[in-house]
Amino acid sequence: MTDEILKIRDLKKYFYTKHGVVKAADGVTFSIQKKETLGLVGESGSGKSTVAYTILGIYGPTDGSIQFKGQDISKPWTKRPKYFKKDIQIVFQDPGSSLNPRRSIRQILELPLKVHRIEGNGGREEQAIRLLDKVGLPADYMYKYPQAIGGGERQIVAIARALATDPSFVVLDEPTSALDVSVQAKIINLLMGLQDEFDLTYLFITHDLSLMRNMAARVAIMYLGKICEIAPTVEFFKNPLHPYTQMLLSSIPVVSEKEEEYKPKKIIPQGEIPSPVDVPPGCNFHTRCSRRMEICSRVDPDMVTQEEGHLVRCHLYTGA
């Protein structure tokens, strides 16, 4: 028995539009260990949210399998048993639009309790107070409305709501990218504290690599619907292999000289992410790659293991 809580194999999610097929996720494979934080990084349009939503069942996958605690859940939420939904929760990016402005915090927190018929001791009101306490908000917040509190506090309420059903797996979809850095620090510390306390497993989605460095145990980089590199965080930042990863790292504006040393030198970011309707043939990154070879525009490279746990999908390492 392994400690894998989530296992995704060759996950595909296509959207059929007027302009063609959008391959938002095209053969994504990874797994997450219990109590681990896996970071999923990518530019906008890379498909990171699609992967998350497919795990949650907001979309049904086009192909591939998702296994959660050993059971297959590769189907949309309408076909999933309720206890799975209880176990997997999400915190969205913008707390301004993920909390109903016409419901009080109490109503917001009680809804998941009602849906899942969680009684606990002392009724729902008690539980809502306990949830607020878990995330460090005073009980009088129960009667406030989302617009009456700050953006950071709203996100904290969204986190409390995600914890209402006592999940073991939480998807964090850019939980701090709408917030200021001083507030972000607070939220991240809260999330890490909660993870320790309740043995949570996180899939942490972000475009901020510096944040990832401090939050995740392993990092996966996504580009145009495919994962191009996945590695343990420390190894990843010490030895980034994929040219796209190197480009991402070299683009980060940093605040100290020490950090400059982590940025690969002599790499100049170029080009933009192509339209997902019109994905380049071969390796999807070859149009922007500084180390492009002849083979790259013809053959899509396979994922190869470079070192223990460090996988990369690039012809530079396939020996081609």
């Binding site: 620090a185 980060i252 504006p253 940093v254 020490k258």
Partner: protein, 323 residues
């Protein structure tokens, strides 16, 4: 030479329920050819400062309660429409955060770019051919491929990064003396941000445009500017040469902000700054940072701290550095 000098600027918004006292004595100056950063968190008044300078704040609800904004030695606040028009045409240009919202979706790039150039030429006669040539040249400057065809495109046909390049082209096409870039890369991906910032840096250097870069990202400020202002709740709390500020942040707010930034070196994330930005209807008296400050003293609650000069070019508005 001082190109821009803002002195004790106070701007508020009259709303239902009172007046939001947003700008609480802003002091800022910019020398010719300088690249200055203005950094602060959401709602601290960065954009209000920029818009006041350009006089494009909607009045009402906005109202200037005091102070002056000297551009080339003249106070712009009492200027009439005609003189202001001249400043907009060739004096100060601005790049906004969201290129999608600042380009008109129903006109082509060419229409909008030519309009800007025609407007800038209000003083002298400029032929259609010249306008077209300058439009093509300005697109060429921002490294957009095939400028002639690009002029016929609509904004929606371009990606976010390309749209922001168009906005940069428009802002620089008029040869303005001062460029205010308000979060020009916030809506862009990190690899695109790096490209746009590098391009902008090359262009302002080549055209010798003085620039104010407004951003909430300390990293962007560090890599792009020479001197920096840190703003909190409507006034500047610290100013220094960029390198100096990052080596030696003095104001408790600057310090807290620096600590909250996640580092690539992975040393964990500090607690951030407790509390939140004040309510402008009823801002705290004295130093506006005092309710959140870990070093708060009695005097902080009573008086607004003046600027204390610590080093040449390093000033801080905090009583900790008195004497």
């Amino acid at each position: 030479m001082r190109l821009l000098e803002i002195r004790e600027l106070r701007v508020g918004f009259n709303v239902y329920g009172g007046t939001l006292n947003v700008l609480n004595g802003v002091n800022l100056h910019l020398n010719e050819g300088e690249k200055v950063g203005l950094v602060g968190e959401t709602g601290c008044g960065k954009t209000t400062t920029a818009k006041s300078t350009l006089r494009i704040l909607p009045m009402p609800p906005a109202e200037v309660f005091g102070g002056e904004i000297l551009f080339n030695g003249t106070d712009v606040l009492p200027l009439g429409q005609k003189e202001m028009r001249k400043i907009h045409a060739t004096g100060i240009s601005m790049i906004f955060q969201d290129p999608t919202a600042s380009l008109n979706p129903v006109f082509t790039i060419g229409d909008q770019l030519r309009d800007t150039i025609r407007y800038a030429g209000i003083d002298g006669h400029i032929t259609k051919k010249e306008i077209h040539e300058r439009a093509v040249l300005s697109l060429h400057d921002v490294h957009l491929p095939d400028p002639e065809r690009m002029l016929k495109n609509y904004p929606i046909q371009l990606s976010g990064g390309m749209r922001q390049r168009i906005c940069i082209a428009m802002a620089l096409a008029t040869q303005s003396q001062l460029l205010i870039a308000d979060e020009p890369t916030t809506s862009l991906d990190v690899t695109i941000q790096a490209q746009v910032l590098r391009l902008l840096g090359e262009l302002v250097e080549q055209k010798e445009t003085s620039t104010i870069l407004i951003t909430h990202s300390l990293g962007v400020v560090r890599e792009w500017t020479q001197r920096v202002y840190v703003m909190y709740a409507g006034s500047m709390v610290e100013t220094a040469q960029t390198a100096d500020l990052f080596h030696n942040p003095l104001h408790p707010y600057t310090e807290g902000l620096m600590k909250a930034v996640p580092r690539l070196t992975g040393e964990g994330i500090a607690e951030g700054i407790s509390g939140r930005i004040p309510d402008y209807l009823n801002p705290p008296g004295g130093c506006r940072f005092h309710p959140r400050c870990p070093h708060v003293m009695k005097v902080c609650r009573e008086e607004k701290p003046p600027y204390f000069t610590v080093d040449a070019d390093h000033q801080v508005a905090c009583f900790l550095f008195k004497g």
